[in-house]
């Protein structure tokens, strides 16, 4: 962990690549933990979890926590837990009965590589492991751990990711309604970003007003990020994205609905609202702004 202990000395000099590397190391370490897990199941989990990724959620968690010495390892662990939950949702969304995707994170999707049964069991194992990791953070007071578990579990279930995916597949909201698209985007992406930022703020010991501002930051950040994803899906190649493109054909998104230019503007206005909330969240804003610039500049900010 020493490597990351000097990262946050000066906000303007923050080394996002070094934090990202610490996250990668943590994930690799976790998957190498001795266990009696069947080899095939573990391989499927590693295939999904250790594939190339920007690790946006654990980075956001880390920056929202703004960890100092004793919190650096817990911040990496909670970020890892969120990345496991996110990966689990990707594995499930890609299944033949859902989006039937073939490529994800520059690899064959998990069910293509390991079969549906193992993909599903791997997703369940990643999901439940996340709760176990949080519950066992001995350096974090138990009342904070229970709150983290509560926030994360609510984000995944019938009011969160699962609801979003269900509505995406069987929803009957009119695709012409901007409000409907925004709600779906929020459930599919924003809700986990919101939980991520809330968990970072809780772990970082922020007060309730700041936690609430952190949620607001993440809601807008998440909507911007989903719009960026739609922009990439619309214009990008599968090489750049590392996953199937145009999978959403026939489904509604802001790009399809308003065209790329309006979607870009929409993305920028989400980011402006996110920045307002960021300032109220009690976190030094520069590191997060640096991350946002890195993520969005090529496709959504440059005009």
């Amino acid at each position: 962990m020493k490597q990351s202990s000097e990262i946050l000395n000066r906000a303007d000099e923050i080394d996002l690549a070094a934090i990202r590397q610490s996250i990668e190391n943590q994930l690799a370490l976790e998957m190498a933990t001795p266990s009696h897990a069947p080899e095939r199941l573990r391989d499927a989990m590693s295939h999904a979890l250790l594939a190339p990724s920007k690790r946006v959620r654990p980075l956001v968690l880390y920056l929202m926590t703004e960890p100092t010495g004793p919190l650096i390892e817990p911040a990496l662990m909670v970020g890892m837990a969120i990345e496991m939950v996110h990966t689990s949702s990707l594995v499930l969304d890609d299944l033949p009965s859902m989006d039937d995707a073939k490529m994800r994170r520059q690899r064959p999707t998990t069910h293509v590589a390991f079969g549906e049964a193992t993909a599903i069991l791997g997703a369940i194992s990643l999901l439940t492991r996340a709760f176990s990791i949080i519950a066992r953070l001995d350096d974090v007071p138990p009342q904070l751990r229970t709150r983290l578990v509560s926030v994360l579990s609510e984000a995944v279930g019938w009011n969160g990711l699962s609801a979003g995916q269900e509505l995406d597949i069987h929803g009957n909201g009119s695709p012409s309604e901007h409000h409907h698209i925004e709600n779906l985007n929020w459930l599919k992406t924003g809700v986990l970003f919101e939980a991520t930022a809330e968990m970072g703020a809780i772990l970082g010991g922020r007060n309730e007003a700041q936690i609430s501002a952190s949620r607001r930051f993440a809601k807008h950040f998440g909507l911007a990020y989903q719009t960026l994803d739609d922009l990439l899906d619309n214009s990008g190649s599968s090489t750049e994205l590392g996953k199937d493109v145009n999978k959403d054909e026939g489904k509604s998104n802001l790009v399809r609905h308003f065209g790329p230019r309006r979607a870009q503007l929409s993305c920028q206005s989400y980011l402006a609202l996110a920045d307002e909330a960021l300032i109220e969240s009690g976190v030094a804003p520069q590191p997060m702004r640096k991350l946002i610039t890195q993520l969005f500049k090529k496709h959504a900010l440059a005009q």
Copy 2:
């Protein structure tokens, strides 16, 4: 909850039916909780969770906790959480890519009734809701809640139910090995029973030696219960079982391997070991013995 507060006055007079009814009421109440969940998703969850069931795991949790006034509601809630996790695992095990079952708990399996995607999302929602319920038990000290979350999540993941199902589908252990069958039975059934009893003992405030004895009780109870299930699967009708029979054809189990008579004896010896551990667990043994007699007498104990 009043209804159940007088249940445990005298062990020999314990009213298992009344506890079972309190569990049913709690489950129905939970599924009727207002939420923004998509109707179809909620219906799928209710279809699976509220179907006829003996509610063995929540009953075992309740009896192991031996709750008094303030613990009665938490014991029902934790039992409910375990039942949700168990139901979630049944929904997934029944999927076409796994056991491809058509009937479960006297109803069409969830994917038959709602399609695969909604079945999977319903299973995830039940699973994550379970962790949320435990994390929010305000009457239980946070350090106990984190321990409950940890025990439950470990029981589901790569060392638990998911590992068992993976080995059942893709395992290459020799079906002629008694040890292999026992290990598989333990992962598929015993591991969640073990977690159930451990959680009951933790919630009931037992000491570490008693918690360990509770785990031992449940391990043997779970092995006996899986053997009973195999006996029923071998000889029963789908009407009595409420699920597909002979789904395990070609797979190994003790009945197929040694014949029903040896399996019955094996079941009885598991139950004897369970009873020894029960006495060491610090719980009044009579209520649990009453439950065991009720569950096993017809097919495994009567000779």
